[in-house]
Amino acid sequence: MLAWTIYISFAGALILALMPKGNAALARWFALAVAATGFAIAIAGFAAGAGQGRVTIVDLPWVASMGIRFTLAADGISRVLVLLTGLAATAGVLFSWNIETRTNEFFAFFLALIGGVYGVFLSFDLFLLFVFYEIAIVPKYFLIAIWGSTRREYAAMKLALYSFVGSAMVLIGLLAAYATSGSHSTGLVDLANANLPVSFQMWAFPLVFIGFGILAGLWPFHTWAPTGHVAAPTAASMLLAGVVMKLGAYGCLRVAIGLFPHGLDAWGWSFLGIGSWRDVFALLAVIGIVYGALVALAQSDFKFVIGYSSVSHMGFVLLGLVTLKQIGVTGAVLQMFSHGVIAGLLFAIVGRVVYERTHTRQLDELEAMHLGKRLPFAAWAFVIAGCASMGLPGFSGFIAELQVLVGSWNAKPWWTVAAGIGIVIGVAYTWRALQKAFFSDRLPRPDEHPKEGWPKFDPITWPEIAATALLIAATVLVGVYPRVLLDSIEPAVRSLLAGGMQ
């Protein structure tokens, strides 16, 4: 059943591309219908699959001579991420309700991207996973290049090329694994059982991890992210930070760690405390956490703050993954969901609710606008989103980050310390942005104050309210009752770590 999320998304994209232009309302409602249906299917599939392990949905031979099959399956991790995608898709469509230029094409690319993302999360054949991973690249380019803002063409190209380079690295890993395992099959389960030699895994692992890590915002390959997120239109930023970065992390988990677990073993020698790829990537993840937070603290553009905060939060995910502890990896997957929702919320507020009304993202200019009074919806939504982003308990981020910290402590204590510093800085930059943008006491200078008084902003539209409510509800629900997701994630992580692709 979950496979229908993929099919209807692509079908929806095709229909939208062929729909007669000029009827923006029709395009929007159709896109919303498709996205919401996908979400509903995701929820149904999640509920149906709860308690079960890996469920195979489709398994057909594709290119039989090479052992490539069209295999779709879902375990707990996949179901949670599919749920996230459905949520982000629906919210994204709602937040794009005001797109007037080339609406059909916008939603066509949007749905194509969503379809690709669904596909990655549901694929259990490495080739198929790669195909969907690549399919997702092209819509991203066009979404940013056509409907984006600051330096959009440059940002779109940078993002597309970085993603492509990352996927090129994955392709090399895929080819190598396929060839080394005897060219029999590209199924994830088969490759995991192929007993790939340790020496092979030692270099295949970092290659594939970095390849996926580029998309996940692994430092120092993250530089596409802030530029891309800022330039992208709101829905695209939501998807990019919310879901697409998770594709990278998912790939790191499912493919790199799943297929090449021995790549994380100790090398036998160590340099400055680094004795395995695990140490290297943990270090990079921790640097990402702290660096992202520090840079976010220094930004003058509101959206850049959120962009860099995404890099910082994704660092948590990656850190959790390489702890290789049950609790750390569980926390990482939960953080994928949590940050997906929160980042979507933050970008939506900054991009759609604030920027499209004030036409500026510079914190200094926003300071003078008294948005706390003039846009209370945005202000309070950002307060809630900011609390969630800071990792306050009661929201989903707290449990996730706590689990990652516990896991990293069990692995190597100093990682936890550094990550904790990142959290503290996280509070600081969120705080700063909140204060400056919404609750500043600074009176406007004469040159900032308009002569005829402050113009009225466009009223908040129902799609914005609906989508904000949806996302907030999600993060609060998971924050208050994390078992709703943890019950699915924990068994899946357990079996994955036990080498149980079997």
Partner: protein, 513 residues
């Protein structure tokens, strides 16, 4: 020599020649007063019928062919990879014939189509050739036709310039090729590929000759020219830029298919040489200050791989700087040739490499014909093939824009389009032959270069979809051309989603081999 055999085997070529003559006659005798459009229609349809007849007459079973008198060696082989290549050539010729309809670059339609068909004949010959002289004859037949086709747009000085460069270059390469062939004959005493291979292996170190090098390099030069591989590629950008669009499509597709089929033939012969050999001496080793090789496959692999790497790198890097879409396509052709040569450098005993190469070149040819068709439409409406002529195409002709998206993304290797599968298949074949560090690094380089190529393909697509139109008037494309483009785009998508289809089809040619 069994002339009946020869006639039977070369029936397809005969059909094409007859078609060519019929076109000439029809055009010159009966259609003098007709409109250009009508003449193009008639010529194309006749040509298509001829190609159809050729396909029907193709001996599809593997293992057949024409043998030398008094020998079991084949002069011309049929079936297997040859048949695949020949069918491919004929299909692509059909598509380029359709592209002629609606074009306005010449009044001499009949001559154009006739020459095109004759060139296609040369391609058919090369695909099955197993003898050096047959290779040369076929190659020249193909090449001469191509030179003429390039020069056909008499009102364009670019066309003349391109043709001149092509001709001079081609002539020189033919000379090199012949020179190399002569050395091969000298070293082994035979002009048959298989016997040459055997001859080169039967020697020992002392009798091994450094002249083999010379021969190989010369042959590589000659054949590298045909596929536009570095460093024999200098003709390509100018030719692609100058030739009229249907001719450029033909050059980019059919001649490549034929040339690669030839290279497959050489590779197959080199690899299968041990099948009939009782005692084979060591394959290759180095002795003394001047390395001496025994056997063909070793140094040939080295040479081909070197050319492949150079083509990949230079083709992609040079394409980055282009502002003319035709030149961009030319450099990208060089790059793609580089990828394919890789599979020829690491050639397998099974049909894996052959299939990979054929799959790639057939689908690449298909895509390129589409690309040039799109370029033709834009040129007819705007007069230029510069990137700026494509601005805002999504508004001016949505269907054309969509087709271009499909084709260019396929060239970049984005799934689920066929270009991706072709690349994947190719690289898998290379690694299937040799999993060592060197081939792996080269494949990694190829993938990296592929990533580079995305940049320039996206530049074109950016003009098509993102940037606002300089001139927003709608662009009309000829009905037949648009029809062909849509068919090609659909094929690219379908074959990409279901790669098994084409693979199964190709596999059917080996049944019975």
């Amino acid at each position: 020599m069994n002339y009946a055999d020869l006639f039977r085997v070369t029936l397809p070529e005969t059909a094409l020649e007859i078609a060519a003559l019929l076109v000439l006659v029809a055009d010159l005798a009966f259609l003098r007063k007709a409109s250009l459009q009508a003449r193009e229609m008639v010529a194309s349809i006749l040509g298509v019928v001829g190609c159809g007849a050729a396909v029907a007459l193709l001996p599809l079973h593997a293992g057949g062919g024409v043998s030398y008198p008094g020998s079991t060696e084949l002069m011309l082989s049929t079936g297997g990879y040859s048949a695949i290549a020949q069918v491919g050539i004929l299909m692509l010729t059909v598509l380029t014939l359709f592209l002629v309809i609606g074009s306005e670059f010449t009044q001499h339609v009949g001559e154009y189509v006739a020459v095109l068909l004759m060139a296609a004949t040369g391609g058919l010959l090369i695909s099955g050739a197993q003898d050096l002289l047959v290779i040369f004859v076929g190659l020249e037949l193909l090449s001469l036709g191509l030179y003429i086709l390039t020069a056909f747009a008499k009102s364009s000085e670019k066309s003349a310039e391109g043709a001149m460069k092509y001709y001079l270059f081609g002539g020189m390469s033919a000379a090199f090729l012949l020179f190399g062939f002569s050395y091969l004959y000298g070293l082994t005493g035979s002009t048959n590929l298989h016997e040459i291979m055997r001859g080169l292996y039967s020697g020992n170190v002392q009798s091994a000759s450094p002249l083999l090098y010379v021969a190989l390099v010369m042959v590589a030069a000659g054949l590298g020219f045909k596929v536009a591989a570095v460093p024999f590629h200098l003709w390509a950008p100018d030719t692609y830029e100058g030739a009229p669009a249907p001719a450029a499509a033909f050059i980019a597709s059919v001649s490549k298919v034929a040339s690669f089929a030839l290279l497959i033939g050489i590779g197959t012969a080199a690899v299968h040489v041990f099948d009939n050999l009782r005692n084979a001496s060591t394959v290759t080793f180095v002795v003394g200050p001047i390395p001496k090789y025994v056997g063909f496959a070793g140094p040939w692999s080295v040479v081909v791989t070197l050319i492949a790497v150079g083509s990949m790198v230079l083709g992609n890097l040079a394409a980055l700087a282009q502002t003319s879409v035709r030149r961009l396509l030319a450099y990208s052709a060089i790059a793609h040739a580089g990828y394919i040569l890789l599979a020829l450098g690491y050639f397998s005993h099974s049909t894996a490499s052959t299939n990979a190469v054929l799959y790639y070149i057939l689908t690449y040819g298909l895509t390129t014909v589409g690309a040039f068709g799109a370029v033709a439409v834009v040129e007819r409406n705007g007069g230029s093939d510069r990137m700026d002529a494509f601005l805002g195409l999504y508004k001016r002709n949505g269907l054309l824009a969509a087709v271009m998206m499909v084709l260019f993304l396929s060239l970049a290797g984005i799934p689920p389009l066929v270009g991706f599968w072709a690349k994947f298949n190719l690289f898998a074949a290379v690694l299937g032959v040799n999993r060592g560090v060197v081939p792996f690094t080269i494949v990694a380089l190829a993938v990296a270069m592929s990533a580079v190529s995305l940049y320039y393909y996206l530049q074109v697509l950016k003009r098509v979809f993102v940037m606002p139109a300089a001139d927003p008037t709608p662009m009309k494309g000829n009905l037949v051309t648009m029809g062909v483009l849509v068919v090609i785009a659909l094929a690219v998508v379908v074959l990409g989603c279901l790669p098994g289809l084409l693979q199964a089809w190709m596999g059917s040619f080996y049944a019975g081999m």
